[in-house]
Symmetry: C2
Subunit: 416 residues, 2 copies
């Protein structure tokens, strides 16, 4: 097996404390080493996780077993939600409107090309699989994981550049498009399995839900947010500004999750909506700035997400020659496929290469897709079998690990 | 059933986000109402949890089901660990030495009397149960939950008074004594079940482990702490001061857990050990103070613990007349039993009543005891059956809920 998730029963809260101590230590030591080598800290956190996870090669399997710890997974999910909220806070809806049309074009190019390439890799390398498996393999390559890129851009102090806004905007749109593609492909496969046809109404429903959520969240959120903070500013107690902001962020993230979108989409929308003027009553009485209050919380939880992603990598099976061809082609398709994104900003002075590179990581979104594929069956054949799943995880890992240094190089080049 | 835990399968990380939003909102609204009524915020957080949990009476069972959510339990455990760490940070080892001898006397009185009274209640009200059940019922009453009292003292701005140090010191010693009693009683019961005898060596082992951990942690921690912070001050990256402090705290908490003590004992010890001078290199370069960095994190996690405790209360069965007599006597034994603690400071000007009241709450420690009792069997008879368990939970709840207003009143009286 190329890579795999290893699940164990949850080890309970007492061990969670030890886990967090180990994860924080690994994150900060890894981040330090990465920065010493001139790389973003997030790369060190990922590789710190890879190192800990693969201690099972020398008989220490405790860290690998953590990938099955539900409480740790919950903390990691909170971490990535907080990260997207923070990134969203750095921009306003106005900023996004300026890049909106371009981001949409970038996103659509970045979804179409990887899907075509992924389908081609399937036809070429998996002739024995059905056309549905090929279609699904393409779909897995479509979505961009905004988490890694957002973190790299922030580590480099570039998260407010026009390129960053296009990448993050396109990644959010990608997420929506990707989920629509996933829903459509999955419907096709389920219909094929029972010999029926895919329902156009079901496809339309997914489309309408996603558009309605995003537009609704931006419109309603902008209406609700000032009133919410104005209300809580009158309550007695401590920590009210941070608590209100988190309730608002978590509420939108859970809303996105409830209609089948990724919670990070809602968290990013919450950050975009929330502006300093909404909580000026807190600021007026001398409380800390919201960014300053969130930073300690996110400095603990965000690294948990990246270390956990690293922990899931099994180096042992990674060089199994039978899978290397498929894995290599899939990685190439994933990387090349997103480079057409630069075409979406042709005719501008924007850094086309950085936009293409910023769209590469598949991260947790790719993992979610692969996981759903494990459960799809046509005429008794699993669409994504264990080997294909491991290959997809390998692709996710490589796209995630190559992005930080590549983006750092590319942004440095454009600045020079 | 008087009260009960309801367990459901874990609802997963996406729902954890919604859960946290609901819990934070309940905590802050409850806290506000309590403060409006002149009570500590923690009482409002507990009762906010009680209210949400009992929405199942009107058909909304979602909140009650949260008591089985592992990720939420993990966050709550982190919250109570952080709370004890913060409380420990406010005192130094020197402060503790000044109250140490008195705290030991207070703790021993506060363990002996509740045990005797609890045994008596068992003989009186449960004549059909074995002597082991009576002994165990006494043992359940011994430990003090320092979490509630620490929080009330902090809400009232009194956590650095001499009374507070004696209460917190005695509660930590209580925890150790209580765990020894638990281990001894459980050994007795297990030996009785197989017809053998309790091993003196096993009792000695528990005693030695606990003493060795506490003394070892205080001695080794004071040696390690300055070196640890001096090392991490030279690393590159952000959030290093907070991460180092949390790794130190979590490390000691996990160490306490590993040898069978409550993790909060280790967290409190970590806070006692850590002093500003250890991390002066961070302070010298203008970073925020550690207390200021921890506060946003704890302001999110600490309320999770108290709301979750409230969620576990089932009001529906609470007025079942068959259990009311036993429940009422147990509550009286729990409260009266700790009032002898004031005798430990006879001859001083210290506020004896406040010390006695501060020792009342059984909180999570009582729950842990009751839970272990559910698994103990002598000759086919369960030591703690479901009804007795519910009664114990009721006692824990009442001792927890009466303490904040009683302590506030008592401290206000002594100040006047």
């Amino acid at each position: 097996m190329l890579l795999a998730f290893v699940s164990t029963p949850d080890a309970g809260p007492a061990s969670l404390i030890l886990v967090l101590a180990a994860v924080l230590a690994a994150a900060k030591l890894g981040g330090h080493l990465a920065e010493r080598l001139g790389q973003p800290a997030v790369l060190g956190e990922l590789l710190g996780g890879v190192l800990l996870g693969n201690l099972d090669l020398v008989g220490l399997g405790w860290f690998r077993a953590l990938t099955g710890n539900l409480a740790l997974a919950g903390l990691a999910e909170l971490g990535v939600v907080l990260l997207l909220f923070e990134v969203g806070l750095e921009s306003t809806i106005q900023d996004m409107k300026q890049v909106g049309a371009r981001a949409l074009v970038v996103a659509m190019l970045g979804v179409a090309m990887p899907w075509i390439l992924g389908f081609g890799v399937g036809v070429l390398m998996l002739p024995g699989h059905s056309v549905y498996a090929h279609l699904y393999l393409g779909a897995v390559l479509t979505a961009t994981s905004v988490g890694i890129t957002a973190r790299v851009l922030r580590d480099l102090g570039r998260s407010q550049s026009a390129e960053a806004r296009i990448i993050l905007g396109a990644a959010v749109i990608d997420d929506v498009l990707g989920l629509i593609i996933l829903a459509v492909t999955a419907s096709l496969i389920q219909a094929a399995n029972v010999g029926g046809e895919v329902s156009a109404a079901a496809i339309l429903l997914v489309l309408v839900k996603a558009a309605a959520f995003l537009l609704g969240a931006l419109w309603l959120g902008a209406l609700v947010s000032p009133r919410l903070f104005s209300f809580t500013a009158r309550l007695k107690g401590t920590g009210l500004l941070l608590a209100t902001a988190l309730v608002f962020c978590f509420g939108l993230a859970a809303g996105a999750g409830a209609i089948g979108l990724a919670p990070i989409v809602g968290a990013y929308a919450a950050g975009l909506i929330l502006e300093r003027v909404h909580y000026r009553e807190f600021a007026d009485r001398g409380e800390h700035d919201l960014e300053e209050l969130i930073r300690p919380v996110s400095s603990v939880l965000v690294p948990v997400f990246f270390v956990l992603m690293g922990l899931k990598v099994e180096l042992a099976g990674m060089f199994d020659p039978t899978h290397l061809g498929l894995a290599a082609l899939l990685v190439v398709a994933a990387i090349i496929g997103k480079q057409v994104c630069g075409l979406g900003v042709l005719g501008t002075k924007l850094d086309k290469l950085s936009i293409g590179i910023g769209m590469i990581p598949r991260g947790e979104v790719g993992l979610i897709f692969a996981n759903i594929g494990l459960g799809l069956v046509v005429h008794g054949e699993r669409i994504i079998d264990q080997t294909l799943f491991s290959t997809i995880v390998f692709m996710v890992l490589v796209t995630t690990v190559v992005t930080p240094p590549a983006l750092k190089w590319s942004l440095g080049r454009s600045r020079a």
